[in-house]
Symmetry: C2
Subunit: 337 residues, 2 copies
């Protein structure tokens, strides 16, 4: 089943979307928002599945689905906790800013509490005050959970994953070092995140969803050029069950909690950082990794961070080449007070 | 006006509470939850004020108000961002764990993104897996904002404060050092927070509310003994307007965002750390400060962190000795999977 929230009020208008992303039907007869659906999932999920089947069969009124009408599936959420499951990414960006890479990062998930109150829609501009902050995109996989009890095991947690999405975890690279040095984690360096137009149930991913990992390439395009296509199922040190269990160690998580994978990142076959697309590598789904690789090779980064007017597109396709989640496609714009 | 959310479903049942906290009336004829009220505050606030006046005059049906029936005013919120406005507290706890105290902490607010999806009710037990985590309470003042645009000034932000509460920002001290060393801020070391039974509009605080600071003592009791009564209006380096502006520097904040002051903490008259209550000082609203002072004086802490069965009570009284927000009153219990 595929779900989306069309822009409407603060929490969107829930629609069921056809598998091929061409048509949608209002979920209103069942429930009006995605958060409300998640709040009562056991009861409402079968009814939404029925609606999805009727939509595929053409036995329910439907309308043309436009990704640009979408808010993020949860336009605002009660929690957005972002892991760093691709430890390769962490090693690279830490190397770039001369920060310590602790060996425990390979066994104990890094996770930060993100702002969840004002997500951007997948086609909304990324409006920010200052190019000098070092605007970067980060392509990620993310899941939405049901209610998660404190102390859940990774195995149990996998069974509490309700929906899967992709994300653009916008980052302000030039604010990160000084903010993390203060010791309290990210805040101003992580502006509003955007999620894909559509969230899908894990069964919709078929054989690509294995034990809390999504085995498909995540595609990123920067100003129309392919920038990265790393395999999201490869080099993911912590599966989503492990990330959820980490988040729930000392508190329960409410239904509608979003857990992110961190920036998808693959090592090269020789164990080193991956090569750019132009050199036949899998590239990167954030600019920071490209800059780190440039720095390692040439002594200095060459690729600038995003400037006002720059565009990023992030999506994921199934084995048949069909977009699964729809595309995040955003332009960076200057914020005027 | 005073508002509370009685325990009911996920988001509570909004009631208007009498000034003396003895009676309440259902807000349902106006709006059913506090989040819904905040989402449409301009329109609904005057109607809630009318209801509060009718309640005071006895011209509306009412019932006895019991603080123990309350959830936190927002049982779950879209954002909980906690500042460290009492830099004295930061200096003390960092001294205790040998962490660096950056001079910028006096000019650039420290703030962490907290988990906002599962707040504890003010009389709920604090259920945690392990005493060895170093369970501590933290008494704070907190505000709930309306919609805050990106780039708001501190002065403008003060005008966007809708409600004021007090908080118990439960902390797991023995998890903090290793978690902050990872560089991504608090996560497991900050379990669910509790807020006071009642949230009040700033006008309800009268002369005690001055330019985004609350000039009254915050009272903490540990196992029935007074533990602290620091003045919340004193040594607050950053007023709430400044904290909100800090949070909104690179993103907008949605209505219902909760901003915390950090642990209220006063220096002694000579500029040193405050003295314990038993020595005629104002004491502390967290155990960590007591332990730091003990360590400074005697070389080692004497007061243990909270054990299962221990109780903490946090409240604030007006100049006439009447409880403003009702009391947070919680017992620590062991969590069983």
């Amino acid at each position: 089943m595929k779900l989306a929230s069309l822009k409407h009020g603060r929490d969107g208008r829930l629609v069921v979307v056809s598998r091929d992303l061409t048509r949608a039907t209002d979920a209103f007869p069942v429930v009006s928002t995605l958060q409300a659906a998640l709040d009562d999932w056991e009861r409402l999920h079968p009814r939404l599945v029925d609606l999805a089947e009727q939509l595929e069969h053409g036995s329910v009124p439907s309308f043309r689905f436009h990704e640009h009408d979408c808010a993020s599936p949860l336009p605002r959420a009660y929690q957005w906790a972002d892991g760093s499951a691709y430890v390769n990414h962490v090693a690279l960006v830490r190397q770039a800013r001369g920060a310590e890479m602790m060996p425990s990062f390979w066994t104990d998930p890094l996770m930060y509490q993100g702002g969840s109150d004002t997500f951007l829609g997948p086609r909304d501009p990324i409006t920010l005050p200052d190019e000098a902050h070092g605007i970067d995109f980060e392509g990620e996989v993310a899941v939405i959970t049901g209610d998660v009890p404190m102390g859940v095991t990774p195995h149990e947690a996998r069974g509490l994953i309700r929906l899967v999405m992709i994300a653009n975890d916008v980052s302000l690279r030039n604010l990160i070092a000084s903010e993390l040095a203060k010791g309290f984690g990210f805040f101003q360096s992580k502006p509003s995140t955007a999620f894909s137009p559509v969230a899908v149930t894990p069964d919709e991913l078929g054989a690509a969803w294995v034990e809390g990992k999504l085995h498909l390439p995540l595609l990123a395009y920067f100003n129309g050029e392919q920038f990265g296509r790393p395999q999201a199922g490869v080099d993911m040190t912590f599966d989503f069950g492990t990330l959820i269990a980490h988040a729930a160690k000392t508190r329960a998580l409410t239904a509608g909690t979003i857990i992110g994978s961190g920036t998808v990142s693959n090592r090269d076959a020789d164990g080193g950082p991956g090569r750019p697309i132009a050199e036949g590598g899998l590239g990167y789904v954030c600019i920071a990794e490209m800059r780190t690789v440039e720095t390692i090779r040439d002594g200095a980064p060459r690729t600038p961070f995003m400037r006002f007017g720059d565009a990023v597109r992030i999506e994921m396709k199934d084995a048949g080449g069909h977009s699964i989640f729809g595309a995040i496609d955003q332009i960076v714009r200057k914020h005027h007070d």
